[in-house]
Point group: C4
Chain length 230, copies 4
């Protein structure tokens, strides 16, 4: 069942550790089969070295375990909320990569300071509002997804144009057309977070500017993109 | 004698260098057999590449060398003081990992700024008071253990919930149910110390909040934990 | 056609990833055959692992694709502008290496704080002025080259003595007598940018001084150089 | 001639690149045979990968090349000045390791903030005064040695107890009983420089204290040392 997706999600999870984004068991990648309405995700707390495609867990969009001897990632409900709200995404990733976590712990958006950022996201990467005590106490993981979605709705952000978010005092979630792309976005997010921090250490606080932001984002994304091969 | 424990302590010592926490000979791991009242610890000043399980040193809880041609770690008396005071721990580790040392040299607790910290420790990681001149001059290593214990008693901290401490102007000690877990805790401590430093560089100074701290700590630890596999 | 140059440019591109300067597909190296007036450059958006000498793209100095099934780097027009203006250079490199990007995003020159810098460049590495909105909207990549050239003309800099520049809110370009040297210069630039940042974090703001700058630069470069083997 | 010393000096040079202290050709190690009054040193500008024991250059204490087809390191005169002045040292190393360079470029001593420092040096690592313009223009490398020596004399420092120095706006020199130990000291210096920088970023500025400094230094060095094996 879903062999191809399991393999892809397995490989995306392995990318997290290969990129150095997920020490120990801290990080998880998932992918969705939209037609079947099923999500494949990392099992909870299993070391990357012990993973294999057949250990990936299959859940439906309500979180019911469809197939697996193992429990799914404890963050599964966050992934599912994102899949339900952002209908065009095919993969979700969560990590505790350090520079992104630092912005999340500081409760700050990652400002778009340059073209490296613009190549990745069409604007600042937002830091969502903190969860209320009630949201933490009941259905915490689902509510984590809901504060992300609320943040994107309130700020009128397009999740395809901004493929990442920070959860306050927690860390980043990224997404993409599939699990592999979501993992790549997690790696890029970590790089641009580090660059933004160093920019500020050098006294820089000036955003990239709308024209340059648009130029670089649209050079790589959308129907007029001219980066890469046809 | 104690072959299994020697192997485990050997492997924990090797983890320190594998994690990049202990350049040269700077770091040591130990484990205890509570029934026999014996502690197995790294020999002093021996490069990691030259270690093997049979070179581990066995001492009793008073520091008497029970078996070994080699001298035990110069920090042995600190380990023993911790084993005597914290009856539930099975392994102790000392390193000079740089971010944790930086907090120790600044004489500061590592504040719990986010969930990465909360997944590891149920509150700030304390920096113990400096040793007095008298404590430095006589039985320095034992007294290093005693200032740690005093710190935990004064602040009413549970060593199982806060598995790490900083010794002022010196560096970190960590512990856990066994040597392997103490080594893993040393690695996690270094990561959260780095994240805390970067958080402050970004202007962040707001702790994670009691509810989120409890949620994440208890999600992973204790009888209601639901992280990982059953 | 141009087999030797293709091999050299291929190897220079591979150096970028080996030096850790170009994650994913972010970076490109080119080389020129001055006699033929042809430039060999990386194809756009192709992962480094998939490159080979025969995939390098040949273009003329007006940007016409002379030989290749693949599209050239999207930054080709910048490379060409530099080759046209700086007649003595034989290779050009563009990266998004993080410390150099941080200076570019802060809109700052990299000050010559010490001899490591002086061994590399005979003065500060300039950050060029931002492109105007018009320059961004039309022929962006060519205009990126033109602001670099304008910067060097205005400040009366010798591109052989200062083999690097920062494009504001973007990142570094470097050059050299060939593609290999341009790639090496990209690596050195990243190192001296990191050192300059750390110098400032320690409170340092004093330039290296004219005499020491000259001593080190001229010890390694020019007709009286005495560094290295004859 | 001097086969054993050449091998040792070769290995010390290779350690510099293995420790990550010397990218490209930036760094050199030497060793002395005090009885013969001969120094073995890295050839100038030769990549580490191309080195071998027989490529090491032999010079006398006046800098005359005794044996070699290759030119000695351009920094040879600095090494020789140190050997002449510090009669008990057997090896010298120069690198451009980044954290140490940052302190040198900031013109600052590396303060002894903790026990990691105290295990290595019995006090702050000094930053020597800048060379005068005259000292730069004539016999620059020899004068670099002389400002180091002047610094140690003025401050009444024992080069055995403080095995490192920073040359202002330049970088570190270290030494030891032999080339291998000098290389190890270069690695330790870089680590403690990084720790000192991070300590200050966390607001720490309090030195380790005389008693703790003495305890750790003397635990590892001198006739009452008890660290390591007998």
């Amino acid at each position: 069942m879903l062999e191809a997706l399991k393999k892809e999600v397995y490989e995306a999870n392995m990318k997290l550790t290969e990129y150095g984004l997920a020490p120990f068991t801290w990080g998880n990648a998932s992918g969705i089969d939209r037609e079947m309405g099923l999500v494949v995700i990392k099992p909870s707390g299993v070391p990357y070295a012990d993973l294999s495609p057949d250990k990936m867990v299959v859940v439906d969009l309500d979180g019911n375990c469809v197939e697996s001897a193992l429990s799914p990632s404890s963050d599964t409900a966050t992934h599912l909320a994102l899949y339900r709200a952002f209908s065009e995404i095919g993969g979700v990733v969560h990590t505790h990569s350090p520079h992104a976590v630092a912005f999340a712990q500081a409760g700050r958006d990652i400002p778009a300071y340059g073209t490296t950022h613009a190549d990745f996201a069409y604007g600042d990467v937002p830091c969502a509002e903190a969860l209320t005590d009630e949201e933490i106490e009941s259905e915490y993981e689902k509510n984590t997804g809901l504060v992300i979605i609320r943040c994107f709705h309130k700020r009128k952000l397009d999740p395809l144009a901004i493929p990442a978010v920070l959860v306050k005092n927690h860390g980043p979630f990224t997404w993409g057309k599939n699990a592999q792309k979501a993992a790549e976005n997690a790696a890029v997010l970590e790089i641009i977070a580090g660059m933004a921090m160093e920019t500020e250490m050098l006294g820089g606080r000036t955003p990239v500017g709308d024209k340059l932001l648009a130029k670089h984002y649209l050079r790589k994304h959308g129907k007029n993109a001219y980066y890469g091969q046809k």
